[in-house]
């Protein structure tokens, strides 16, 4: 619901909001420029001191105005010609033209009415209202994603477009909401919908009938500092019944031109004051710094618009058309999808195609449409679901748990839950877990134990497919490739072999950088830009599903390097190990923004075993800033599989690596990397207390062992791996 409230106003009012924000940002510069250009020196003066100076310099003076910026303008009429100029208060002399800036006028009219008069004003007000709805719904989405308002500024993970969108939003949403609200107020005021009409004093019934009192002697003007002045109008020359009219920040009054006495005065009403304050805050007139801040925040709108459209398109693209969908009442398999960005729909489509070609009838629907009363022919329910933020339901599964709680469990329909997520998030597949726990508690039978797919891993998905096939009694091969980019031919430059003696043949393979098309170089896509820790996808001959390897090099290194262990019977690792320098094979890049060192100077604790050292070595090699890096590395035997054993001492010598601690498992008294951590527990705890970032790469068992060891090490200081993960200070790349 909130998502729809965010999406539709955003798309419908896109053009209006863009015009509003760009013209608003440009307009914000004018008050600041005027403030800088306005001659100073009048702050301490009274009106009775200032005005005689101008009278002396300008014959025929009719009016003196002061803008909130401090700029003083005089208007005169002499020899039948009107004139106007900006005044230097020190001398009273004209210093600059007072003609309105045509660019300012053009921008103002564009900003408030699209040059279309009242209809345009209403359209722009609708744009402001859309911006307000966007700000409110967006803020609540950010809070929900972060896991509550308290975590408003929690670090972000995920694709670049989403991060940019939210990063800009959380800094500018307050300013944008403020600009939109004040804009709506000003529109209401312009259309006379607010009781903020100017309070004018009644014109005096009688005046002295004399003329010629000097301005310098008028008590009211002597008591009014120039900083309070808005406007002083002179009586018509030769009209003894006319008066001086004074407008100040506090009200309007009339002064007799013969006696200098005050004839009438009316203060501003409360509504008038509020409206004027709002006008100044919105336009930045007299509040130039605030204006600049609001203008800067407005500049975030085009970026948010572009990333917002990208996110919306990505969500749509991922959702397949449900052509040929079986009705819920006739399908044997009910396939329900909980998807946020749309990628889970892609997996579901692959599953549906495989089941259909095996002769099954499949009904596919969003989880929020769960309705077991209609599943009359169903023999099983398959639930594929992502997780939103901190364990919440994704968009297409909203309301599912409530529907599940209301429904009667059906003993004849077993259920399988497959969660999709990213292991680097603390609430990994949290919603899928809630779903399977709730279903079990309700008494729904289990078709398969709950399983997960990490970062859209085709391998995880294929593995679950085989398990499902086994449970259903027919072979099920799920070859799902989420949007594979075009592969480039990678040519092997060199290879270094390790580990043959200990039964774990491992190679460091270095490929030349492929030719990158100009467009990719400009947009930083594909091999145009990559970092150590990103993933290299390799599609082996004779396989439908690619394998992914963590990169041990970044684009700046000028080569592509991965560390591959040869698995017995492994198709892809076998083909990679068979490469000789000069051979090539196709590969593509997949960014892995969740596993980066990030900026900053906090120490890094890198923990890895076996081939897991690949990206860690890449981080060390790229550590040009000489950040303190502590490496914990587990191997079998230093004589055989000490990967990067040749480079590490050199990196240590030139300051890229502060310290290396190794653990060796194939010797008497075997030690694993988690044992090495425990042995260095005090030092590790100290580093973490000082803000160190922990990055773990390696097998699942090793990662679990490391988490356990760190839990023990950190317990005395009240920290925990879970809390560090939530902060984004503990990230893992596990395979």
């Amino acid at each position: 619901m909130i998502r729809a409230l965010h999406r539709w106003p955003g798309l419908l009012a896109l053009a209006l909001v863009l015009v509003l924000s760009l013209s608003g940002a440009a307009l914000s510069l004018f008050p600041a420029a005027e403030r800088l250009a306005a001659p100073g020196g009048a702050a301490e003066m009274s009106v009775a001191e200032l005005v005689p100076r101008i009278e002396a310099a300008i014959p025929g003076l009719e009016q003196v105005r002061r803008a909130p910026s401090g700029r003083i303008t005089a208007f005169w009429f002499e020899d039948g010609t009107p004139g106007a100029a900006v005044i230097d208060p020190a001398t009273g002399a004209p210093v600059a033209s007072a003609d309105p800036d045509p660019l300012l006028r053009w921008l103002t009219n564009l900003h408030r009415s699209l040059f279309l008069g009242d209809a345009g004003r209403l359209a722009m007000a609708a744009g402001a209202a859309a911006l307000l709805v966007l700000a409110a719904s967006g803020a609540s989405l950010v809070a929900r994603r972060a896991g509550g308002w308290r975590h408003w500024f929690a670090p972000l993970r995920g694709p670049l477009a989403a991060r940019l969108h939210i990063e800009i939003a959380r800094f500018s949403v307050a300013g944008l909401a403020f600009s939109a609200l004040t804009a709506l107020w000003m529109t209401a005021s312009t259309f006379g919908l607010l009781p903020d009409a100017a309070s004018e004093p009644a014109f005096p019934a009688a005046v002295s009938g004399q003329t010629g009192a000097p301005v310098a002697g008028m008590a009211r003007l002597a008591a009014t500092p120039v900083s309070d002045l808005r406007e002083l109008s002179f009586p018509y020359p030769g009209d003894a019944t006319d008066v001086f009219t004074l407008r100040t920040d506090s009200g309007t009054g009339y002064i007799d031109q013969g006696t200098g006495a005050e004839l009438a005065w009316a203060g501003l009403s409360g509504w008038e004051r509020v409206s004027e304050t709002i006008y100044r805050l919105h336009t930045g007139q007299g509040a130039a710094a605030l204006g600049l801040v609001l203008g800067l925040m407005a500049l975030g709108v085009p970026v948010m618009a572009a990333t917002g459209v990208l996110l919306w398109q990505a969500g749509r693209r991922g959702r397949p058309r449900l052509r040929g969908n079986q009705p819920a009442s006739r399908a044997g398999t009910i396939l329900l999808v909980g998807s946020e960005g749309g990628s889970t729909w892609g997996f579901a489509a692959t599953l549906r195609a495989a089941l259909t070609s095996a002769g099954e009838t499949v009904h596919i629907a969003p989880m929020s449409a769960f309705d077991p009363a209609r599943y009359t022919q169903a023999r099983r329910i398959l639930l594929l679901t992502a997780t939103y933020g901190d364990g919440a339901a994704p968009a297409s599964a909203r309301g599912f748990l409530a529907r599940l709680a209301r429904a009667e469990a059906r003993p004849g329909i077993p259920l399988a839950v497959l969660g999709f997520g990213d292991r680097s998030f603390p609430a990994y597949c949290g919603f899928a877990r809630s779903v399977s726990e709730a279903a079990a508690a309700q008494g729904w039978p289990e078709l398969l134990p709950p399983a997960t797919v990490d970062r859209q891993s085709p391998q995880d998905f294929a593995r679950w497919g085989r398990d499902l096939g086994a449970a259903l009694g027919f072979p099920l091969e799920l070859a799902h490739q989420p949007e594979r980019p075009a592969a480039a031919a990678l040519t092997l430059v060199s290879r270094r072999d390790y580990g043959t003696e200990v039964g774990a043949p491992t190679a460091i393979l270095r490929f030349a950088l492929p030719q990158v098309p100009l467009r990719q170089r400009l947009t930083g896509r594909g091999f145009g830009r990559f970092h150590a820790g990103d993933l290299l996808g390799i599609l082996p001959d004779g396989a439908a599903v690619p394998r992914f390897y963590s990169l041990a090099s970044g684009r700046r290194d000028g080569f592509i390097e991965i560390v591959v262990r040869k698995h017995p019977g492994g198709l892809c690792s076998g083909q990679l190990h068979a490469l000789a320098p000069g051979d090539s094979l196709p590969g593509f890049l997949r960014p892995n923004p969740g596993f980066r060192t990030g900026r900053g100077t906090a120490p890094l604790i890198l923990i890895g075993a076996g081939t897991g050292i690949g990206p860690l070595a890449g981080f060390i090699r790229g550590n040009a800033g000489r950040r303190a890096v502590h490496l914990f590395f587990g191997m079998r035997h230093p004589g055989s599989d000490f990967l990067y054993g040749g480079e590490l001492p050199g990196w240590q010598a030139d300051g890229r690596l502060a310290r290396i601690v190794t653990a060796v498992s194939r010797r008497p008294g075997p030690r694993y990397v988690q044992d090495a951590l425990r042995a260095e527990g005090l030092e590790v705890a100290r580093l973490i207390r000082e803000g160190a970032r922990i990055m773990v790469c390696g097998g699942r068992d090793m990662a679990a062992g490391v988490t356990e060891a760190l839990t023990e090490i950190l317990a005395p200081s009240g920290l925990s791996p879970v809390a560090l993960k939530a902060e984004g200070r503990y990230v893992e790349d596990i395979y």
Binding site: Q63, P82, A84, D99, P100, R105, G192
Partner: protein, 157 residues
């Protein structure tokens, strides 16, 4: 160009002095100069031989919150909306011409009545009494220049 026919534009104050109420169509043409600002608010009104406000003929400008800038008219009427009820139109852009046709009582001519125009432009100075021309049969068809915003004004019978 704007052409409006208002059958009884003036308030009763203006029509009462007439013994036999005879009226004739009068065309009022106001041409603005290119003063380089947004659309101008203009108000056309009449004062009697004593200089007291007698009634309004036309208000060009729709938002009453800006009427205070038409200083003389506002002082005379207190901004009373009843004075311009039914005789209000859009503001007039720089360089444009406002032409209105209305029936004016014969008794207004050659009797000491004066037609005034107050003008105001956003962010520029207010210009009350831009135009002040005595209403005479002889003066009809003679263009009169304004002070700041009005290039010329004339009334034709």
């Amino acid at each position: 160009m704007k052409s409006v026919l208002a059958a009884l534009a003036l308030t009763t104050a203006l029509t009462l002095p007439a013994v036999a109420v005879s009226a004739r169509p009068v065309t009022l043409t106001t041409t603005l100069n290119a003063y380089g600002g947004d659309g101008a608010y203009l108000v056309l009104y009449v004062t009697d031989p004593q200089g007291a406000y007698a009634g309004s003929l036309w208000m060009a400008g729709g938002k009453s919150k800006y009427y205070k800038h038409l200083t003389d008219w506002f002082r005379a009427t207190g901004g009373d909306p009843a004075q311009i009820n039914g005789i209000t139109g859009a503001s007039v852009g720089a360089g444009r011409t406002l032409e209105i046709t209305l029936d004016l009582a014969d008794a207004l001519f050659d009797a000491g009545y004066t037609l005034h125009i107050d003008a105001a432009v956003e962010d520029m100075r207010d210009s009350p009494n831009e135009i002040a021309v005595p209403l005479t049969r002889e003066g009809a068809g003679t263009p009169v220049p304004g002070r700041r915003y009005i290039a010329s004004f004339e009334y034709g019978m």
